[in-house]
Symmetry: C2
Subunit: 356 residues, 2 copies
């Protein structure tokens, strides 16, 4: 693999000094980019885009051509895992993901296979290797997976949901069955992320999109416990380089201390808590990633720069901050505003990284 | 008005001793009840149900026939206010509320009227008076309104939204226009709730459904500030009785101290934070209302009782707790399970209210 030319992102995750604050965006390869929409029309459907390494590589690299981002993230979907377990993932226009065979009872859980990432998910590993080659050391590549709890909600609900009645129904009524499902998912996610690391992912992130809908008690027992299992079983070094792991629970600010105590390297933040307060609470232990409200990108360049300045000031001096949005970029955002945002982070953060 | 036979709810809000913990449910008059669905078919549409005092009264009283609830809540909708401001509220089946004339610019804001509650909203006051008469002192009646910020999101988006792009766009780009809108709404909500109190509401609740999607800075400036204005201008006593006010921001646990400092009598809690922790943080200042996960009602009677016991134990001894769900009851819930829940609160809470 070629040497890394820009290691700001990895250095910030390890809380080593950097020249400016590194920045990337969740969903940076996505529908807000006309070139993404053009590639998307060449694939028969969204899943084909994920399953074709050349196309996944193409869209992964698109935002790096436009913006001076400090990391690339694999283009894929968190639901590749339940699909590989045999649930039959499909997408209907405007309705989001669905499963042909959702989990309805504990017998199905016992029969679920643990996929070998080099069989049903080899297309993801091929995409990772190809992207690494095409990146040619420009920036590091992030691999990712959904958290066990988040994957379980989709598998039990059969798709997206507003009230989580089936998933929470199982959690409350059959907690042991839920634990067996989450254990299988934790093992599967661990294997999957380790295979991504072996294929070339230089950092990994776990997205716990739905941990934040649980009570504190249930979050710790049914979501965080399994993310911690994964963190503890991940490959820590690959080819001599540490592979940092980022945990992100949306709406998880109440549990930042618990998340930081899992052994992860960084905690992703949504936009609700000022990052300076998060740093006070846990910033001596881990790096922090976040936390601009994605809706700021609907505003004017001036307002965007003002918001960037505020978040940089809130974090303050020193390393350990990876700038990001608090959630994925919306499809309606003007790419010109993204350029304003990314450039502002680099330009305005210099003063926080001067040598003492 | 007839004397009140069951004043547990009002006593708990005032943190006076009670025999058992009072309980009611958000959306207790609603689609989970077959008798509600029957009344609903007699109205041409949902708005007619809200606008016909006899029908609104009928559905308000239905859950009290089945369950030993300690309060009734006016059957209405938070969007009656923007409708009275001329935005033209309508409901499409399965798509939620919509406005014919959403707010698109600051000129429209300046032209918005402040409705007189005794003109365009007299049907609500008529419903309140009728319900009070029909209740005949059985339990107190709660009036309610949406928070200015929550109402503004619907008025600007033109209905429900997932990403709040337009409402946040105005907040970020035209904060002064947003403040003018929120000021008008605060005045309107104040007049509206005071008219409900004059018509017979014995407590009032402000629902801030969407405050929790804001950053801390924006929540305090654009949502809580206006709820505080309302609290400070509400009629405090009516016919010699104190009229307590409850504030509820969904996903607002980060700001409990701020909410409790507005001068309100009680703070509504969603299900994420253990109520005992909320009591430690603010329970010497206000009463607490909540906080069972509504999804528990999908589980078995045994599991429901277990959850009730846990929440009662978390709050502990003494008064100041109004038991409730952390959000509205779902339409799919079996009314038999609601009975189990309500009865369990009364039965299991006795031990926490013994005289010392």
């Amino acid at each position: 693999m070629p040497p890394l030319k820009n290691d700001r992102f990895l250095r910030a995750l390890k809380r080593q000094p950097v020249d400016v604050t590194p920045v990337w965006m969740m969903r940076q390869a996505g529908r807000y980019l006309p070139e993404y929409r053009a590639t998307r029309t060449r694939a028969t459907d969204f899943l084909t885009l994920c399953r074709t390494p050349e196309l996944a590589c193409e869209v992964t690299l698109q935002p790096l051509e436009r913006f001076s981002l400090d990391a690339a993230i694999l283009f894929s979907d968190i639901l590749t895992i339940p699909d590989a377990m045999g649930l039959g993932l499909y997408f209907t226009e405007g309705e989001g993901p669905k499963f042909k065979h959702p989990i309805c009872n504990s017998k199905q859980i016992d029969e679920l296979p643990i996929p070998d990432p080099h069989e049903d998910l080899q297309y993801v590993m091929d995409a990772v290797s190809l992207i690494r080659r095409e990146l040619d050391g420009k920036v590091p590549l992030i691999g990712f997976a959904g958290s066990p709890w988040t994957l379980a909600t989709y598998m039990i609900e059969g798709g997206s949901t507003k009230n989580f009645s089936k998933a929470k129904g199982m959690l409350f009524e059959q907690p042991q069955a839920m634990h067996r499902l989450l254990e299988k998912l934790a093992k599967t996610v661990t294997d999957y992320l380790n295979a991504q690391i072996a294929a070339g992912a230089q950092a990994v992130m776990i997205f716990d999109t739905w941990g934040g809908i649980l009570t504190s008690r249930d979050y710790l027992e049914f979501s965080l416990q399994y993310m911690q299992q994964i963190v503890q079983n991940l490959t820590q070094k690959h080819e001599g380089e540490q592979v940092p792991v980022i945990l992100f629970t949306k709406d998880g600010n109440e549990w930042l201390e618990n998340i930081a105590n899992t052994g992860c390297d960084a905690v992703g933040l949504d936009w609700k808590l000022p990052i300076g307060m998060a740093r006070e609470r846990i910033g001596d232990k881990v790096a922090l990633q976040g936390n601009m409200d994605p809706c700021i990108l609907y505003a004017s360049p001036e307002r965007i720069r003002q918001e960037v300045a505020g978040i940089l000031a809130s974090f303050g001096s020193g390393t350990g901050h990876v700038f990001n949005l608090g959630h994925g970029i919306h499809p309606q955002i003007d790419p010109e505003n993204v350029k304003v945002f990314i450039d502002a982070v680099h330009k305005m953060s210099k003063i926080y990284h001067k040598e003492k």
